[in-house]
C-alpha cells in the first residue's frame, strides 16, 4: 500500500466495526496498525466481532484481536494501546497516525477523537452502527467539514447508544468495510472520500451519501475556534462506561 501519508492506521475500538475494518485494511496491504481498546471479549460480542471465537470469551480484546489478526495477516504489525481513548491519552494515541478510524461505542469518545485528530492534523473516519443503521463520515487532515459540523456536541439524552440499542452483526460488517474504504481513499489522497456522511439501512439494503457542509460557527473547524485543547469536561455525557 503506497499512501501519501506515513505512519500506522490507528483503530480505536477492537469491536464490531474494528474487526472487519482491520481485516479489510490488512488484506489491502496495510503493514502497521495501532489498536486501542479496554474491554474483554463477551459472549454477546461474538455475533458481530468476527475476529473472536468462543475460546476468546473473557480474554482482553486486544490480545485476542492481535492473535487472530496475526494468524491471518502475519505481514501486518499490530501495536497495542491498552485502555480507552481519554483526554489525557488521546494525543499519544493519534500521534503520527496516517489515519485514525473511530470505531468506538460511545459519543464521548467520538467527539474526543474528532477533536484530538483535528488538533493533531490527522485524518479520521468516524464509523458507527446501531440496530440496523450505520453511518460513516471521513474527515481529511485539518479538513472541513468535521464531525462537529455534522453533530454539534454530545447528546444529552434521547440518542441511541450502545447500551440501550442492540446492533445487527452484518451492519457492523458494512460499517467496518466502509470505514476501511474511506481510510484507504484518504491515504490515497482521494478528496472525494471526505465531506459527506454515508448511511446504511440494513433493513432495506440501502446505501446513501449526503453531503455535509462546513458550519461557519463550528467550534472545532469554524470561527471562532473554541476547541483548542482536550478539556475533559467536554467529554462526559452519555458514555457507555462511566
Amino acid at each position: 500500500m503506497t499512501g501519501l501519508r506515513r505512519g500506522p492506521i490507528v483503530l480505536v475500538g477492537a469491536g464490531g466495526i474494528g474487526a472487519p475494518a482491520a481485516m479489510a485494511l490488512a488484506a489491502a496491504g496495510v503493514r502497521a496498525l495501532r489498536v486501542a481498546d479496554d474491554d474483554r471479549v463477551e459472549l454477546s460480542n461474538l455475533h458481530r466481532q468476527i475476529l473472536f471465537g468462543d475460546a476468546d470469551v473473557g480474554q482482553p480484546k486486544l490480545d485476542a484481536f492481535a492473535v487472530a489478526l496475526a494468524r491471518r495477516f502475519p505481514g501486518t504489525a499490530v501495536e497495542l494501546h491498552r485502555g480507552r481513548a481519554l483526554p489525557a491519552s488521546a494525543p499519544a494515541l493519534v500521534a503520527g497516525a496516517a489515519v485514525v478510524i473511530d470505531a468506538t461505542d460511545n459519543f464521548a469518545s467520538r467527539f474526543l477523537l474528532a477533536d484530538a485528530c483535528a488538533l493533531a492534523g490527522v485524518p479520521v473516519v468516524h464509523a458507527a452502527a446501531v440496530r440496523w443503521s450505520a453511518t460513516v463520515m471521513a474527515v481529511a487532515a485539518r479538513g472541513r467539514p468535521c464531525y462537529r459540523c455534522l453533530f454539534e456536541d454530545l447528546p444529552g439524552e434521547g440518542a441511541p447508544d450502545c447500551v440501550s440499542a442492540g446492533v445487527a452483526g452484518p451492519v457492523c460488517g458494512v460499517a467496518g468495510a466502509l470505514a476501511a474504504d474511506r481510510a484507504l481513499r484518504l491515504l490515497a489522497g482521494d478528496a472525494s472520500a471526505s465531506g459527506a456522511v454515508v448511511t446504511f439501512d440494513g433493513l432495506r439494503d440501502a446505501l446513501r451519501e449526503v453531503a455535509v457542509r462546513a458550519r461557519p460557527g463550528c467550534p472545532l473547524c469554524g470561527e471562532p475556534r473554541v476547541v483548542r485543547d482536550l478539556d475533559p469536561r467536554r467529554y462526559t455525557a452519555n458514555a457507555c462506561h462511566p
Partner: protein
C-alpha cells in the same frame, strides 16, 4: 382553499418504532416544521425525537433533498411538494 403540499419523509431505523416500521411516510405542510407537526399527529413522539425547545436537536440532522436545513431556513424551510426529507441521527455503537 390552499394547495396541499405533500413530501416524502425517510425515517431512520431508530425512529421506525414510531411509524409502525415504515421507512418512508408522507407528510403534509408548507414548511419542514409543519411537516413534523403533521407527522406528530399520526406518529406521536416523532416531534420529541427530532426537536427540543431550541429547535432541531443537536444530534439530529434534517435534510431536504441533499441540503441540511440548518443551511436553509431551518424549520421554516419552505417546501413546494414532492421533495424528500431525510433524517440522519447521531449513533454511537460499534
Amino acid at each position: 382553499m390552499g394547495t396541499t403540499v405533500e413530501t416524502t419523509v425517510r425515517i431512520p431505523t431508530p425512529l421506525r418504532t414510531l411509524t409502525g416500521g415504515a421507512d418512508e411516510v408522507k407528510g403534509q405542510g408548507a414548511t419542514v416544521g409543519a411537516v413534523i407537526e403533521d407527522l406528530e399527529k399520526r406518529h406521536p413522539g416523532v416531534r420529541d425525537r427530532l426537536l427540543d425547545e431550541k429547535g432541531v436537536r443537536r444530534f439530529v440532522n434534517i435534510y431536504v433533498g441533499d441540503e441540511d436545513i440548518r443551511f436553509l431556513e431551518g424549520l421554516g424551510t419552505e417546501l413546494k411538494g414532492g421533495e424528500q426529507i431525510s433524517i440522519v441521527p447521531a449513533i454511537a455503537g460499534g
